[in-house]
């Protein structure tokens, strides 16, 4: 039954519920969604999105209105001066560019490396396979702070301190990605690969021409998740970026928020909008891939 194969598809679930509702008259009352539940869900959703609404509303209020007690719910005077200040007082285009380069680099690296190793671990027999898998999965539990001191020493000795590659390289080969790709490739039938072998295709050719084209959905999930986690990554870029021209968006925003100008709420909140909105847009477009990935692996 299709519904068992893909429990995360909401559209495949609905028919099953209807079918069940038809089974007996007694069940009907219980299975129809009560109206109060919708009311509760809408209220809950409103509570959850308040910070986003407040963020956007506040970012266009003039400074005087921002300090007003009690605060105005809707902006009385609309200004875009905070956004302008991001470009004039701070170098936000540079931070934005840095964030984009680091996130895209991390994303592409993971998509290439993890699908390669994921395929080898899922479908190929070779000496060292079990050890490799254990080693990679074993690092899943290691907290980020454990590696950053040696990583800092390493990047210093490689001469990479305060460069963008230093922010990409340590995250280019993530264990989560290997796990995700391996799980997905395991579901591809062995017969397909055997058939390609019979047709005389080399092993690497099979990977590139047979397996990889089937990995579209998993690669999309992996790509979105690694992009998001890199875009939002904070601790390591904070450690390794020492001059302003190498700051990523979260680093710039955080250092500005705890610095001497921390009371300039307008600028800070406009900055938060610039950090959050592109990510929300990407998420809304690609949310199906993210939901599937999260439901199957627990990656955020």
């Amino acid at each position: 039954m299709a519904t068992l194969e893909a429990p995360t598809h909401e559209n495949t679930m609905t028919p099953e519920k209807n079918k069940k509702g038809r089974r007996g008259g007694r069940d009907d009352g219980r299975l129809r969604t009560p109206a109060w539940l919708y009311a509760v869900m809408v209220a809950g959703l409103f509570l959850v999105v308040i910070p986003f609404i407040w963020m956007v509303v506040s970012s266009v209020k003039p400074n005087a209105e921002l300090r007003q007690v009690p605060p105005t719910l809707l902006p009385e005077g609309i200004t875009f001066s905070h956004y302008e200040a991001l470009f004039t007082d701070l170098d936000f285009p540079q931070f934005f560019l840095n964030s984009a380069i680091v996130s895209l680099g991390t994303m592409v690296g993971n998509m290439i490396f993890c699908s390669m190793l994921g395929y080898a671990l899922a479908k190929l027999q070779f000496p060292g396979r079990r050890i490799m898998f254990a080693l990679v999965v074993g690092t899943l539990m290691v907290p980020g702070v454990v590696t950053f001191v040696p990583l800092f020493v390493l990047t210093t000795n490689l001469g990479l301190t305060n460069t963008l590659p230093a922010m990409i390289l340590p995250f280019m080969a993530g264990p989560f990605g290997v796990f995700l790709m391996r799980q997905f490739i395991l579901s591809i039938p062995d017969e397909l690969i055997q058939a390609a072998r019979v047709d005389g295709a080399g092993e690497l050719r099979i990977f590139a021409r047979v397996v990889l084209p089937l990995c579209g959905p998993a690669l999309a999930t992996l790509g979105v998740l690694t992009f998001l986690s890199s875009w939002n990554n904070f601790l390591w870029p904070l450690v390794v970026a020492t001059s302003e021209d190498k700051y990523t968006l979260p680093v710039a925003l955080a250092l500005y928020a705890v610095g001497q100008n921390a009371t300039d709420y307008g600028l800070l909140i406009a900055g938060a909008v610039v950090v959050v909105l592109p990510v929300l847009a990407v998420f809304l477009v690609l949310q199906r891939h993210i939901m599937q990935g999260v439901a199957s692996t627990g990656i955020k």
């Binding site: 893909a6 539940l37 009690p70 690092t139 017969e191 092993e203």
Partner: protein, 343 residues
């Protein structure tokens, strides 16, 4: 859990598979090629793999595919994990980085120094509080929302996306917004409380309230992940069992408590582990919203490690990070024991 999740509800037959074999289709095409379901249509004499003549070329190919990942992984992840352990037994400081020979082996001195340090004990206690408050709250909210979502038939996707929104946002950015929302004078929360006649609080400036306030924000940021995971698990609970319980006269609550929850035990365990690991590493929220204050009441172990790193005490920072790692391993083992024991 992943075993219940096949990437495609594909009902394609043999013809489609042959098309997939001919390939190569453009990878950028709008409809991604579907991995065919397991079927008996493709049978080949080389189906068995024991004495496969391609074994050697398979091994060579596997290593070619594995080397790029493993090289980066060993240098930038596995290597540093071990190096950090080594450093934690030395007196390495920022001044020794370019001159590693001057570093002395000091045994367990960093660890004993940490355990004797009053500030470290305080941040360890704070981290424990983050864990004990954060995990049950996050799982509880996530479960409540998931149960609600599971009953909703319309706009289900819309609700699910909405509740997930906070997860994808930058912690730093939302911390900036929450700091503004929670401020004492003119913050949205205090203004709302005043409206209903309740006194406003110094949410982030009180040594008692600052840590719980950060936890609430963290729950808001994190519960969406567990909601999606719980929802997937709830949908796999067989309705026959629930209906049988109902015809035996079980109330909605007792059906949830005695049928759904036991069936979700592995998922709840998994959720407790990954959520717990997250709270043990608490850092960004405190960094942006309170800078660890007031009076270190929100400083965590990760924050302490970052501070020691900033002071140049690399050996001490490495030791602190390893104590955190140890805590994560112990917590994971404990949770497996606690939640498995009822089987």
């Amino acid at each position: 859990m992943s075993s219940t999740h096949a990437p495609h509800p594909s009902r394609e037959t043999g013809e489609k598979q042959d098309a997939g074999l001919d390939l190569p289709r453009a990878t950028g095409s709008r409809t991604p090629p579907q991995p065919p379901t397991r079927s008996r249509t493709l049978r080949h004499p080389f189906g068995g793999r024991s004495n496969d003549p391609t074994a050697r070329s398979q091994a060579v190919a596997a290593w070619i595919l594995a080397v790029p990942f493993m090289a980066v992984f060993l240098v930038f992840t596995a290597g540093p994990v071990l190096a950090s352990l080594g450093m934690s037994f030395t007196d390495i400081r920022s001044t020794d980085v370019r001159n590693p020979l001057s570093v002395q082996f000091v045994g367990l001195e960093n660890y004993t120094r940490l355990l004797g340090d009053e500030l470290f004990r305080k941040v360890a206690l704070n981290t424990l509080l983050y864990l004990l408050l954060g995990v049950p709250l996050t799982l509880g909210v996530a479960m409540a929302v998931a149960v609600g979502l599971n009953r909703v038939t319309r706009f289900k996707g819309f609700f699910r996306v909405g509740f997930y929104l906070p997860v994808v946002t930058s912690i730093v950015a939302v911390s900036v917004v929450w700091k503004y929302l929670l401020r004492e004078n003119g913050g949205l929360l205090n203004s709302a409380l005043e409206l209903v006649g309740l006194p406003g609080q110094a949410w982030l400036d009180s040594t008692h309230l600052a840590l719980p306030s950060l936890v609430v924000m963290a729950v808001w940021r994190n519960f969406g992940t567990m909601t999606v995971i719980f929802l997937a698990a709830l949908q796999s609970v067989p309705t026959e069992v629930l209906e049988a319980a109902e015809s035996d006269g079980a109330s909605a609550w007792s059906r949830f408590r005695h049928v759904t929850v036991p069936m979700l035990r592995p998922t709840i365990l998994f959720g407790a582990v990954i959520t717990g690991i997250g709270y043990l590493q608490f850092f960004e929220e405190a960094f942006v919203m309170t800078s660890g204050g007031p009076l270190d009441s929100t400083r965590s172990i990760s924050f302490y490690t970052y501070d020691q790193f900033g002071f140049g005490n690399y050996g001490l920072a490495a030791a602190a990070s390893y104590l955190l790692f140890l805590a994560i391993v112990l917590l994971t083992m404990l949770q497996f024991r606690l939640l498995r024991s009822k089987d």
